[in-house]
């Protein structure tokens, strides 16, 4: 493919797409020039995913035209798109976890003799070359599932490179990464850019968009709102494009008086989950009062998520330590007993451990408090529906019907359904693990306001998030974890992002 820089590599024009009579894309234009990082921004439901799915060959019934390097194309399948040099790094990993890195990289495009016999050494050489380019040192023979998410993402990129992809689409690649991993991903993106690859980048994080993007295109309600070089488009302007209204402040003001102690944790240790040797959390000490938000920062593997799960009893009776909940002794045994005592956990994996996809919205909301709706074993469905309706109104969940499949909601609304589930149990302490991951700006803002309202009513919240601006703005105190231990604590307004990162990477700096 020989394109002069400046000439678009890809041009999508007048794209129209409808699902059962509803237009989700209406006359959308989108173009990508070689060697640029083109950010595609917009709230959930704006049509980004649909546009991406058309570009990557998932949807083949659309109106409009796609040109690549001047040639008109129409993809019938994802592999068809791959042949034309378009690769997608999905939010949901599209790797086979049980297969090793080489087999994954060449999956579906094996180097073969007579179309059957796999030429392994050739594949291995090529895989090594690509990974060396990306400055990754990995054991190629290990199953992909044994690597953390961030590495698996890199392997997906390597796979795209092995297919000679010219355009790499990254759908929220950083949503599960911490700051260090994100920095590494961005370094690789810069490198890809230098080599003439183009990146279509989707993210909800404004900082990242400006850090990595060369050009920003915004969709809203299926329409192209605008496209501009990142340097010419101010943050406020972009938010206005995305939301269609002004959001005066990204984070709401927070001031809540602190009440009596809700949770007091002493010498709390959690073994590594999955029967591994060692401790995920060691001798953690923390306390939190009514109406307080305690933020926990830390890199992936710091044990912050395990701390929350250990307190909630996800791992059963394996953790140890002294805990007082509402002034009474508490020992985490099982999620069930913790919920009964007023301690709940919003997990960081909404699809995997938060929602029951086969159940409708009202049933998902009542899930954790079924006893209150069936005091005599008999479900009182009318009361259940009323209660769900109250939560829908209260949290501003946008839906068509309470009996709608929960999967058809946008990410932000799904998260609100999970929050409603936990609110219905009338908790005293709420552990939130990445509550705003994969949630659009409007819904994020709603979540912050709701957190402020709940704490003003006496709820205590422990907030784990890898978005530092969010952590700093919402927390009354911040503690930092590193390798299972708490390494620092900052009162509100006393920590900067740099301070926290420094504490989170403490001894990596020393050994370096």
């Amino acid at each position: 493919m020989n394109c002069n820089p400046g000439n678009p590599l890809l041009r999508m024009e007048h794209i129209v797409k409808s699902f059962s009579g509803v237009r989700v894309l209406d006359d959308v234009d989108f173009e990508v020039v070689p060697g640029e990082v083109h950010v595609l921004a917009g709230e959930n439901g704006a049509g980004k995913s649909t546009l991406i799915k058309i570009l990557s060959g998932v949807h083949s019934d659309y109106e409009g035209s796609i040109r690549i390097g001047g040639k008109s194309v129409r993809f019938k399948s994802p592999s068809d798109a791959a042949v034309h040099g378009i690769a997608t790094i999905h939010q949901e990993m599209s790797l086979v976890n049980s297969m090793n890195i080489i087999d994954n990289i060449f999956l579906g495009r094996e180097h073969t003799l007579f179309n059957q016999w796999v030429i392994r050494h050739q594949q291995e050489q090529k895989a090594r070359r690509i990974l060396a380019q990306m400055e990754l040192k990995l054991d190629l023979s290990l199953p992909v599932g044994s690597y953390p998410l961030s590495i698996r993402q890199m392997i997906q990129i390597a796979k795209a490179l092995a297919f000679d992809a010219r355009i790499i689409i990254m759908d929220e690649p950083t949503s599960a990464l911490n700051e260090v991993e994100t920095a590494r991903l961005f370094a690789i993106i810069s490198k890809l850019k230098q080599n003439g690859h183009s990146i279509v980048f989707i993210s909800h994080r404004l900082d990242e968009i400006y850090q990595i993007g060369d050009r920003i295109s915004v969709l809203r309600d299926g329409l192209s709102i605008g496209s501009a070089p990142a340097s010419d488009l101010s943050r406020d302007e972009m938010i206005r494009w995305m939301v269609g209204r002004e959001i005066d402040r990204q984070f709401p003001e927070r001031s809540t008086p602190q009440g009596k102690e809700r949770l007091h944790v002493e010498r709390f240790s959690v073994p590594k989950p999955g029967g591994l040797h060692g401790w995920a959390v060691r001798d953690a000490e923390l306390h939190i009062g009514a109406g307080e938000i305690l933020g926990i920062a830390g890199l992936q593997g710091s044990g912050k998520s395990e701390l929350l799960n250990g307190l909630f009893g996800t791992y059963g009776k394996l953790s140890q330590g002294n805990i007082r909940l509402n002034g009474k002794k508490f020992y985490p045994v099982s999620p069930r007993s913790s919920i009964n005592r007023g301690l709940v956990l919003l997990t960081n994996d909404r699809k995997g451990t938060g929602l029951i996809p086969s159940m409708d919205i009202s049933r998902n909301i009542s899930l954790a408090s079924l006893k209150t709706f069936s005091p005599h074993l008999w479900m009182e469905t009318a009361r259940e529906k009323d209660c769900a309706r109250d939560h829908v109104k209260d949290l501003g969940i946008k839906l068509q019907s309470l009996t709608q499949d929960v999967q058809t909601l946008s990410g932000g609304n799904q998260q609100k359904v999970v929050l409603a589930k936990w609110l219905e149990t009338k908790p005293k302490v709420m552990l939130l693990d990445e509550p705003t991951a994969g949630v659009d700006i409007g819904a994020k803002h709603d979540t912050y306001r709701l957190m402020n309202r709940w704490t003003s009513l006496g709820l205590a919240i422990i907030l784990v998030t890898s978005e530092l601006p969010e952590l700093l703005a919402m927390s009354d105190r911040v503690i930092v974890m590193h390798r299972g231990r708490i390494t620092a604590e900052f009162p509100r307004g006393q920590a900067s992002q740099e301070d926290i990162l420094q504490a989170a990477m403490a001894d990596e700096k020393e050994t370096a």
Partner: protein
């Protein structure tokens, strides 16, 4: 309809209506009935007697399918239903014929034996995390062995072998005749009423009780259910225990219908029970489905077999046709547009 937004497109609404698994199952049943009306074997399909006999014939399978539905909604499977049916049929016959026990004692004991088998499978699955397929496969083999051991490999009939090698013929116990009777002016079989009662019990559990929510939640997403405080182990025990219980109900009916306890009874019945659940539209992946669907599925399979038999289709073609029609019905339910 009160929460629906204004209708956009009537065809979209029709489509949505057609997506309902209930409607699809009914359409499949309607299709089979239509075949029956066309090939009505000189009008015999139009007689109530034919329908009554179909219901009677499908009842035992339907009762097994009730328990199977509960288990399949938890994303499990129960392969042991046919064997437990055989085992309880043998136990019930021994108690009733050989020991002359009162049905008030024999029936609860049989039901208990079936439930215990189910609870053992459930315990293996819930507590020791053995895959449902494997655990119930083992129970299938074990319960068949139990049936043969208890009966000594012989059919337990009213002809009782004496120590001298002579047969002594005993009276058919009243309970056998009672279960085998037809009531309401000979219009419906007792076993059919028992089948309806089982459907009702399952409907209450799945649609009305808290347990039903637990069953659906576990099938939909077991980890999310556990983290929401759903008692996963207890719920699985209940589901498999009830499946065993329903097997015993079916076993008692089977013994009464055959006037004997055959240790070989119920072989391949598990496959028919699964076919009934699947043809009804309950998802084998768990979390979706219902007992109403299973009822329609039982009717569909029952009518299918009845229509083939009244038209005197030979066994070989009957089996092939049944297989083809099951696939046709399931494919039809998968159609999206």
């Amino acid at each position: 309809m009160n929460e629906n937004p204004p209708k956009k497109d009537p065809s979209a609404n029709l489509l949505k209506w057609f997506r309902s698994p209930f409607v699809r199952a009914l359409v499949a049943l309607g299709f089979v009935l239509m075949i029956g009306f066309i090939f009505n074997a000189e009008g015999s399909f139009l007689k109530w007697q034919t329908h009554r006999d179909m219901l009677r014939h499908i009842s035992v399978f339907g009762i097994l399918a009730c328990g199977m539905t509960l288990v399949i909604i938890t994303a499990g499977i129960d392969l042991s239903v046919g064997s437990i049916l055989g085992m309880t049929a043998v136990i019930f016959s021994i108690f009733s014929i050989h020991f002359d026990w009162s049905p008030w004692l024999a029936i609860p004991l049989c039901l208990g034996a079936g439930a215990v088998c189910g609870l053992v499978s459930g315990g293996l699955i819930a507590r020791f995390r053995i895959q449902p397929f494997i655990a119930t496969l083992a129970m299938m083999v074990f319960a068949r062995g139990m049936a043969k051991w208890i009966s000594g490999g012989q059919k337990i009939s009213t002809a009782v072998l004496q120590s001298g090698g002579q047969y002594r013929y005993k009276e058919v116990p009243a309970i056998f005749d009672g279960l085998n009777a037809k009531v309401l002016h000979n219009n419906i079989a007792v076993v059919t009423l028992i089948f309806f009662a089982c459907i009702l019990v399952c409907w209450l559990i799945l649609a009305k009780l808290r347990w039903g929510r637990h069953i659906y939640a576990i099938g939909g997403n077991e980890e999310a259910a556990r983290l929401s405080g759903i008692p996963v182990t207890a719920t699985k025990l209940i589901a498999y225990g009830l499946s065993g219980f329903f097997c015993a109900v079916a076993g008692i009916c089977q013994a009464a219908q055959e006037f004997q306890g055959d240790p070989e009874a119920g072989q391949t019945y598990e496959l028919t029970a699964i076919a009934i659940v699947v043809i009804g539209g309950t998802n084998l992946m768990g979390g979706r489905g219902g007992i109403g669907l299973t009822f329609i599925g039982a009717m569909t399979i029952g009518y299918l077999e009845k229509i083939l038999s009244i038209n005197a289709v030979g066994e070989a073609s009957r089996l092939m046709l049944t297989g083809a029609i099951i696939i046709g019905a399931v494919l039809f339910q998968k159609v999206r547009k």
